[in-house]
């Protein structure tokens, strides 16, 4: 009797899982089968698609690189220091993850169009409504996430490995680069991919700080928004398709690295 109930519960949860997966597949299939974007491949390689794609790729690559470079030492420090003050810092770092991107974008806009923005403008750095604004917005959104992801990776490495490396002759930095970093290699690669994919898909903060200027600040998500605004569903679906491909490629990469272990 009991095993029968368990079986029913199992079939119910399995059924629910398949339903959710089917729901997401249905969204994609519905969009591409019923709307049938004409000349999909012709449009895909046209300049009006390639330009935002290039802009997105460049901005997200720069923002990811910057955020990961900053996140590695920050995450390591957070992982190894367990003081009360570090808990406070940890909470501050987490705020952008919970804050709506539009809200963070509006804070960025107020900051960079206020006195700080004017000061930067005087030295030739124009952040608001510029390509630099796209990078700053993406960077601001993903850095806290990168720190969180990398902190988990560093947490998984027992600090005693570093102690062992040091007793074997490593300096503090050698212990980090020769022992800790190689041990979080898979987590690091997964974090880079997630951060990069999140940058490509960033919309709220980018549109608030950099605006939606075609050719200058028009990233793929902004293109989708602009295409729908001008009732160009075909164009919007092509950009959505590009984002879908980025998501699938990212997911496959993450799955590959999270499954790859020292056993291989």
């Amino acid at each position: 009797m009991k095993s029968g109930n368990r079986l029913k519960q199992l079939s119910f949860s399995k059924g629910l899982l398949y339903f959710v997966a089917l729901y997401y597949c249905l969204l994609v299939v519905n969009a591409y089968i019923f709307c049938k974007p004409c000349n999909f491949f012709e449009l895909l390689f046209s300049s009006e698609v390639l330009k935002p794609l290039r802009l997105s790729l460049v901005s997200s690559s720069i923002a990811s690189l910057l955020s990961i470079s900053i996140a590695i030492p920050c995450a390591y420090s957070l992982s190894r220091n367990r003081s009360k003050f570090s808990i406070f810092i940890d909470t501050i770092i987490d705020i952008p993850i919970f804050l709506s991107p539009v809200a963070l974008g509006s804070l960025l806009l107020i900051f960079f169009s206020g006195s700080s923005g004017l000061l930067l403008k005087k030295v030739g750095i124009d952040v608001a409504f510029s390509f630099l604004g796209v990078i700053v917005a993406q960077f601001s959104i993903v850095t806290s996430m990168a720190i969180r992801l990398l902190k988990s990776a560093f947490d998984s490495v027992d600090p005693f490995y570093e102690k062992m490396a040091r007793i074997l002759g490593c300096t503090r930095s050698q212990a980090f680069f020769k022992v800790t970093l190689p041990m979080v290699q898979n987590g690091l690669i997964s974090s880079i991919v997630i951060v990069w994919a999140r940058c490509i898909g960033e919309f709220g903060a980018t549109i608030m700080l950099a605006g939606a200027m075609p050719g200058l600040t028009e990233t793929i998500p902004i293109s989708i928004f602009l295409s729908f605004a001008s009732a160009d569903v075909d164009r919007a679906l092509i950009f959505t398709g590009v984002l879908l491909m980025v998501s699938v490629a990212s997911l496959l990469t993450i799955k590959y690295f999270s499954r790859r272990s020292y056993f291989l």
């Binding site: 005693f160 062992m164 490396a165 040091r166 007793i167 002759g169 300096t171 190689p182 290699q185």
Partner: protein, 374 residues
């Protein structure tokens, strides 16, 4: 070789105060104690993993208190091997040589000696995650010793291994110590391991050493109640000294309605009359007298009549629980299986036991106040 002078440190709620220790060159020194006594903290402090708040750490006569772990030039073998999982066995063993940029040719001879003695040649190209616990620990030993440090610290290296493997590694450690003459400081909670390996054993409780002795002295002459209990003194009682006979080197102790005579040992402090003492006898030192057998004069004074209360069967021995006729004293008696069979014991059987006076251990109660071995 290793000298800790009056060191103090605090780690969370755990404190070590005014700790002294002295390990001589070439010694196999054991720091023995129960879990949570602070053995590993002391070892890791010597390695430089923890900062001390006061005192001095001297290695080879040099003050290393302020030096970082990499500047202390010592080998360290941790409890769980902590091999680097992204490297092969060979890369793990050669890690220190690579860090110090020492060419393989210079370490080749000792590298080969280590892999032969530890029997790990067939593992060299394996990833460490494929190794068993024992194999990992052997690789950790080779990794720690590759550069021939004159001091090796071992932090419970055998505690996670099964008995046959433990025996094998114990004999390898003894061989390594004998052939290299490196100073070993080994931390363990396992008495047997300590007694097999150690030249000198220190017993540590709550961050303080209570006794440092050669192994036999620790076993037969524990200085405190803690040491007596930890080294397995099965029968301990709280008595009172009636008289001390310095001429015949013996002391008479009363316990309930009994009087026991014990030998005074030369190097043991003599208790004063009327003082309270702990006295005891090891389970394997209690003798069961055969019916009708004439008594030897040595056994005469301390004879108890009673019966077998219960019997516990073990692999190589039997533990007999004895209770006297007045039901005032219970004793634990350890017998080999052979002796047990000869005596034909069973629960309820009336027997006589003797506590040999030279086997009775005495410790004045005030000895059990914590003291520091300097």
């Amino acid at each position: 070789m290793i000298k800790l002078q009056d060191i103090s440190l605090k780690l969370g709620n755990f404190k070590v105060n005014n700790f002294f220790m002295n390990v001589r060159p070439g010694e196999y020194y054991i720091l023995l104690g129960p879990s949570g006594a602070g053995k590993s903290v002391i070892l890791q402090t010597i390695a430089g993993f923890y900062k001390i708040s006061s005192g001095k750490i001297l290695l080879r006569g040099i003050d290393v208190t302020e030096l970082s772990p990499e500047e202390r030039a010592i080998g360290f073998i941790p409890q769980n091997s902590f091999l680097f999982p992204n490297l092969t066995v060979r890369e793990n063993i050669l890690f220190a040589a690579n860090i110090h940029k020492i060419p393989f040719e210079k370490v080749k001879e000792f590298f080969e000696y280590l892999i032969n003695i530890l029997e790990i040649e067939y593992l060299l190209n394996n990833r460490v995650v494929h190794l068993s616990g024992g194999e990992k620990q052997k690789v950790a030993i080779a990794r720690a010793m590759l550069l021939k440090p004159d001091i090796v610290l071992l932090d419970e290296p055998l505690s996670s291994l099964d008995m046959p493997l433990r025996k094998k590694i114990v004999s390898t450690l003894l061989q390594l110590h004998r052939e290299t003459n490196i100073t070993f400081l080994h931390v363990t909670h396992d008495q047997e391991e300590a007694f097999i390996l150690g030249d000198v054993i220190s017993l540590i409780f709550n961050g303080q050493i209570e006794q440092t002795s050669k192994k036999n002295a620790l076993y037969f002459f524990p200085r405190t109640l803690n040491v007596a209990l930890f080294t397995g003194m099965g029968n301990i009682f709280n008595g009172k000294v009636i008289s001390v006979d310095h001429e015949n080197h013996q002391v008479t102790i009363s316990y309930k309605n009994y009087c026991f005579v014990a030998t005074l040992h030369e190097h043991r402090p003599s208790p004063s009359p009327s003082t309270a003492v702990f006295f005891g006898i090891r389970a394997e030192e209690v003798m069961i007298l055969r019916d009708g057998e004439p008594l030897k004069p040595l056994l005469e004074p301390n004879i108890l009549k009673g019966k077998v209360k219960s019997i516990t069967e073990k692999t190589a021995t039997h533990t007999i629980f004895f209770i006297d006729d007045r039901e005032e004293i219970e004793l634990e008696i350890e017998l080999s299986n052979l002796v047990y069979r000869r005596l034909e014991l069973f629960t309820g059987k009336s027997i006589q036991v003797s506590l040999k006076k030279s086997s009775i251990w005495i410790s004045p109660e005030d000895f059990n106040k914590k003291y520091i071995v300097k």
